[in-house]
Subunit: 262 residues, 2 copies
DNA sequence: CAAGCTTGTTACAGCTTCTAACGAACGCGA
DNA sequence: TCGCGTTCGTTAGAAGCTGTAACAAGCTTG
């Protein structure tokens, strides 16, 4: 009900508002409706618009969790919200735009989880566990980021920026680990890790580090961390271990142990 | 043209037949039409049916390569083949059944690539390179197997069987490597690999090995091989390295080097 | 040859995305 | 306070999809 004709009466008080404590997190916690604090000075109409957009995205996440991103239906979302299908196109110009927003939010969510963890000190093991915790809590978001790509699709600038943030956090932690290691032992024995051929290749192809001062072996370490954790995590989330009997958590822990040098 | 009304006249000579040399491979090479050798005694109708099914699958692979599995359209395939939409339902009872077939074929294709490689001797490095070669040649098949899962979907028995075959091949290679290592050095120093906590866990949860006699450390090695290679490969195929500048092949080689003990 | 099975056709229901035209409510400026 | 433009939600409809039903025509087997 509610929406009979035209804009719903009293739309400002019509929905429970939750002011986001963290100004960055664009992905609401389960069941909450969030309006960012920054555009508090915005016009009522803008606030209502942001509100509806957030509600649409929430229903979208619900649908994705239930049947995957490919089954996302704007029409179904509209019905759930008690309005007609075409009304949603006032808020998202197309289904693709909505999905792009969800992808961006997923990246932001992961970046937030990483940054939050790293704020308690740059610790690779903590980052790894944060990664797994986040992935298990939001598998849909994980697959939106790391799942099957759409052949024609090209990610917008926003996500490449956020992906850079995530990588920077990881590089910070790897750098901290490296300096810590050289502090613990004597100087100049960093070479005991072994300079590989790929390290020298990386030294010449490091623009992806975005100005991060980490030396090539540290870049390589970050890449290895990323690929190995993704290897176990993605297979676990996709259910490839389900029929196998062992505990994926223990496999993850074992892989992390290997990464941290036993 | 061709199809005007009813079954096309002279359908037996209507299409170029290629008799499969390998009786197992259900996935045809690019641009070929394959009919298995075994049901050569089948009725002409059956042969025609298999022929059309294969042609449908070929067009399906083309569509998947172009726009992803979610964009696969039976109607579009029918048009490409010059017949009406509902006609396809004589060959596949639903879109899901077609996709399931494609998934099964993808598994079979990977299993064939593995088996072929292993027939030249059980060599882990060779298996790894075969994996990457296959994945780069058929990224769509890789993502059909290891990509984003559909929440409700449960794989049919056929694919779990084939997945078991793949794992068996990998376990064979890992076993060969282990015995080779113990032959090279003296006896009873297998312990220098280090028995991890996860090894003992695996020793108690090994039914997934399907009766393979490999000891727990070998099981663990197979798992590690699988997850690490998948980690680099899936990120490469999904394009997560594209903007980064370095050569994915070298990252893969480096990871493989690490896996093989430098 | 004749009966039956198989395959193709068109028509249609019901879903989807998305556009177009319209009316009503909001809210800002005068 | 009043009015007018903007925004929003509506219905109608095009074009596409999956999948079903009814029917026509040809192969194939008794």
């Amino acid at each position: 009900m509610g929406h009979v004709k035209g804009m719903p009466e009293g739309f400002l008080e019509g929905m429970p508002l939750v002011i986001a404590s963290n100004g960055r997190s664009a992905v609401p916690a389960r069941g909450e409706k969030v309006v960012s604090m920054a555009p508090n000075t915005a016009s009522p109409r803008d606030r209502y618009r942001a509100q509806v957009r957030a509600e649409i995205k929430e229903h979208a996440w619900g649908q994705i969790a239930g049947a995957g991103a490919s089954a996302l239906s704007l029409n179904a979302i509209a019905k759930q919200m008690g309005m007609s299908g075409p009304a949603l196109y006032r808020y998202f110009s197309s289904r693709d735009e909505l999905i792009t927003e969800l992808v961006t939010d997923a990246y932001r969510s992961l970046a937030d989880a990483f940054r939050t963890t790293a704020s308690d000190g740059p610790d690779l093991a903590g980052l790894a566990h944060a990664m797994r915790r986040w992935a298990l809590e939001y598998p849909q978001r994980y697959f939106l980021i790391y799942g099957t790509p759409v052949p024609g699709y090209h990610a917008p600038d926003a996500v490449t920026t956020i992906a850079g943030d995530i990588m920077a956090t990881l590089l910070d932690a790897c750098t901290a680990e490296a300096t810590e290691a050289t502090d613990a032992t004597d100087a100049d024995n960093t070479a005991d890790v072994g300079e590989t051929a790929f390290d020298t290749h990386l030294a010449h192809h490091r623009q992806w580090a975005g100005g991060h001062p980490a030396p090539a072996p540290v870049l390589r370490r970050a890449l290895t961390f990323w690929t190995r954790l993704h290897g176990v995590l993605s297979l676990e989330l996709a259910g490839h271990f389900t029929g196998m009997g062992f505990d994926p958590a223990q496999l993850f822990a074992a892989e992390l142990d290997g990464l941290l040098g036993r």
